[in-house]
């Protein structure tokens, strides 16, 4: 039993040093304030700078394997992920969920067409999955794509699309087949610049605009843009969502958050003393710290199971629930430690760390709801993980 990943050999020091210098030279200065979570820039100027940064990296040979059919040196890939992550600037633009779909269900031609510009920052992607009336019950989606000649004509509406206002392509789930439920759904590649696509940024509870609504009015998509086969879209989406959930679970930061809470408790007061001297505070931090460490070990178990081919349908949902609920509780604990000062937010001189905890608290609900709400995750664990009976479906409600 071990949790060791092979250490990166010393002869990669030069690669890392060169990469760090390159990032330092090319990293753009953005108007966009970086916040916790998967957030969207709100200014076109930043998008141009980010595209330029990703292109510079690509041209210099710094390319991520997840947007490629080739496998490069694994040590270089690890260094690349580490250093690009540490740079504090987005290096993956939009939501590249489609990469996993193309990997498992795409044609060679589709991969050859879409991977390189995705990797180069030329194509920003978004996902077009949820609808106002199809959230948790995604298979009831109503956006329709009707085959006319060799084109699909799309009519409908999507919501919760990441970076859609900046996106060049969309990974669309639409109903093409004349059947209800999962069997009627097809996954399609949509050129977001097509006639009839209307993107409206959606302001969320955080006050920021990280998602969009997207409307389709007779939008035309070539039939060749189907990923997989018509009617196979639910399986395509399931494969890519499972990857996303595992990603959410490993989105880390947990142990670091516990250390932050201790620093916060040293500076905050309780009953006329530093909060860190209060027994109830210490118990709460101890509990969160233990669960933050366990988050890492759950990830290590899942990674091991993945290598051994022992992944169960419960694993990714377990990681997702664990991470998202711990994250929420950690931010709630931070606000409680701040006391009345927790009311002061970003921009106010009284705000702690310019309001990062308040923003993180509000954004925490994105993790508990997105990527399959935690209630859906619990259904998956119970039904597919434990073999308990499936939820009965109600009668379809007619749309007015």
């Amino acid at each position: 039993m071990d949790v060791l990943v092979p250490p990166i050999p010393d002869d990669y020091d030069e690669y890392r040093a060169t990469l760090k210098a390159f990032i330092a030279d090319h990293k753009p200065v953005l108007a966009w304030k970086q916040r916790t979570g998967l957030r969207g820039p709100d200014q076109a100027g930043d998008i141009a700078l980010l595209r330029g940064y990703v292109r510079d990296l690509y041209e210099a040979g710094y390319r991520l394997d997840r947007f490629s059919t080739e496998r490069s040196d694994p040590y270089e890939q690890r260094i690349l992920e580490q250093e690009l992550g540490a740079a504090g600037v987005a290096h993956v633009l939009g939501n590249p969920l489609v990469a996993g779909a193309l990997k498992h269900f795409g044609t060679d031609e589709q991969r050859a067409t879409y991977y390189p510009p995705m990797a180069r920052g030329d194509h920003i992607w978004t996902q077009l999955f949820s609808e106002p009336d199809a959230g948790s019950d995604l298979t009831s989606l109503q956006t329709r794509a009707t085959l006319v000649g060799d084109e699909y004509v799309v009519v409908g509406q999507k919501v919760w699309s990441t970076w859609a206002q900046w996106a060049d392509y969309g990974y669309l789930l639409a109903r093409t087949e004349p059947v209800d439920g999962a069997g009627g759904i097809t996954a399609l590649i949509l050129d977001m610049h097509s006639e009839g696509v209307d993107v409206r940024p959606l302001r969320e509870m955080t006050g920021t605009t990280d998602f969009n609504e997207v409307f389709f009015d007779d939008v035309r998509i070539p039939a060749a843009n189907v990923i997989g086969t018509p009617g196979e879209g639910w399986r395509v989406a399931g494969a890519s969502l499972a990857e996303e959930r595992t990603g959410v679970g490993s989105a880390g930061g947990g142990v670091d958050a516990a250390a932050r809470l201790i620093r916060l408790a040293r500076r905050s007061q309780r009953f006329g003393r530093p909060a860190i001297e209060d027994g109830a505070v210490r118990q709460q931090i101890g509990d969160l710290a233990a669960r933050a460490r366990i988050q890492r070990h759950l990830g290590q178990r899942i990674a091991t199971k993945a290598v051994k081919g022992q992944i169960t349908p419960a694993d990714a949902p377990i990681a997702k629930i664990w991470f998202s609920e711990l994250n929420l509780e950690t931010t709630e604990a931070a606000l409680a430690l701040l006391g009345a000062r927790s009311m002061a937010v970003e921009g106010d001189e009284l705000a702690e760390e310019d309001g990062r905890w308040q923003d993180a608290f509000l954004y925490a609900r994105a993790w508990t709801i997105a990527g399959g709400s935690n209630e859906i995750m619990r259904n998956l664990i119970a039904e597919r993980g434990l073999g308990l009976p499936r939820e009965p479906r109600g009668q379809p409600q007619s749309q007015s």
Binding site: V3, N379, L388
Partner: protein
């Protein structure tokens, strides 16, 4: 990365499970609970032959482990013994063996370890007056006398097996330092009273020391460090037992929910029930992750071993108790009967929650480690 068990360890698991099914199943354990002593020395020796107490003992002293990670081997055993609520002194024997192997003199090791390995001898660990690992709770005073020590005081909630031939006693020197003593039995001045216990599957005692004298050669080296190792080993091994017990009860409860019909449906088809099962599986997986990592980190001497053990101590047993409570509730009336096993698991869990440092104690420890920069 391979955060799982090896083929040899899985073989150990299968062998142990078969042995227990035949010789000491849960049904057999249940039959013993209303007798004065739940311990069966003959069965213990058979178990010892399968390595139950040998893992932390070097081969030249009749010990031996399955892999190069004896503590992980012990986790496999602990899980299997936990599944059937084994009444034997698995935790104290291995705690004492581990402490002797690490801090004992050659003579001490030679005298005691082969007998512990063979199961001929069993050991008990006398930690403190109130069962907690707080240094202030140690109530055995150790005074130097002639060529040895004189022990006076009391240790409580000591897991015992009838005729445990060796006690490892935590005492406090006149200077207030922790000292660990090997006290063979019988020894004059030693009195033991069995506590009527909530956990009916094991026996715990109040052990009184009234002028017990031991020679200087019976002092274990290491002082506080030795006591710390004992506590870490106890936390990890008890966590393994709790993981095994919680896993079995959980599986049994899932099966029950799939077969119990009310309102014309199996109760497992109700979402209110399904979501509780989902939460329990999350808890069970988290218990496993915490316990396995603690064993790995402590056994391999990883930098974060102390935090890893505190994490297991903070989470595992409290969660075991929660799973037992939920399992009992999900069984409904049948779970409330003496006949059903749910209360035996609940009783075991309530004991594990408070032995070797309760969850609050380990959470406090984790915060202290974090304050020292050792939490990560």
């Amino acid at each position: 990365m391979d955060f799982g068990f090896s083929e040899d360890q899985e073989l150990l698991r299968a062998t142990t499970r078969r042995f227990l099914a035949e010789h000491q199943s849960l049904a057999q354990v249940r039959r013993s609970i209303e007798q004065p002593d739940v311990f069966d020395a003959g069965l213990w020796r058979l178990g010892a032959a399968l390595g139950w107490t040998a893992m932390l003992i070097p081969p030249e002293l009749e010990g031996g482990c399955v892999t190069e990670q004896p503590l992980v081997d012990l986790v496999v055993l602990g899980e299997e013994l936990g599944r059937v609520l084994n009444p034997g002194p698995f935790v104290p024997c291995n705690v004492v063996a581990g402490a002797l192997a690490r801090f004992g003199t050659e003579a001490q090791a030679r005298e005691h370890l082969p007998r512990l390995a063979s199961g001929e001898a069993t050991a008990a660990w006398c930690l403190s007056g109130d069962g907690s690992p707080e240094p202030g709770a140690v109530e055995v005073r150790a005074g130097p006398e002639d060529d040895g020590w004189r022990l006076d005081g009391v240790a409580r909630y000591v897991q015992v097996a009838a005729n445990a031939s060796l006690l490892l006693v935590v005492g406090k020197s006149p200077e207030g330092d922790v000292r660990n003593f090997l006290v063979p039995r019988p020894t004059a001045g030693l009195a033991e009273r069995t506590v009527s216990g909530l956990d009916v599957t094991r026996r715990f005692a109040e052990v009184r020391f009234d002028g017990v004298t031991v020679p200087a050669a019976n002092l274990l080296s290491g002082g506080q460090a030795a006591a710390d190792l004992c506590l870490s080993l106890a936390t990890v091994l008890q966590s393994a037992e709790s993981v095994g017990a919680a896993g079995l009860l959980f599986d049994e409860t899932v099966d029950y929910a799939k077969s119990r019909v009310q309102f014309g449906r199996t109760i497992g088809s109700f979402q209110a029930i399904k979501h509780r099962f989902a939460d329990l599986l999350i808890e069970l997986e988290a218990m496993r992750a915490a316990a396995y990592y603690a064993a790995l980190a402590l056994g391999d001497g990883l930098e974060d071993a102390a935090a890893a053990v505190a994490t297991a101590g903070a989470y595992v047993d409290d969660t075991f108790a929660h799973i037992c409570g939920e399992a009992l509730q999900l069984h409904g009336g049948i779970g409330f009967t003496w006949e059903h096993d749910a209360h035996l698991f609940t009783r075991r869990a309530k004991a594990n929650q408070v032995l070797y440092g309760d969850g609050a104690w380990h959470r406090e420890r984790l915060v202290r480690l974090s304050e020292m920069g050792l939490g990560d």
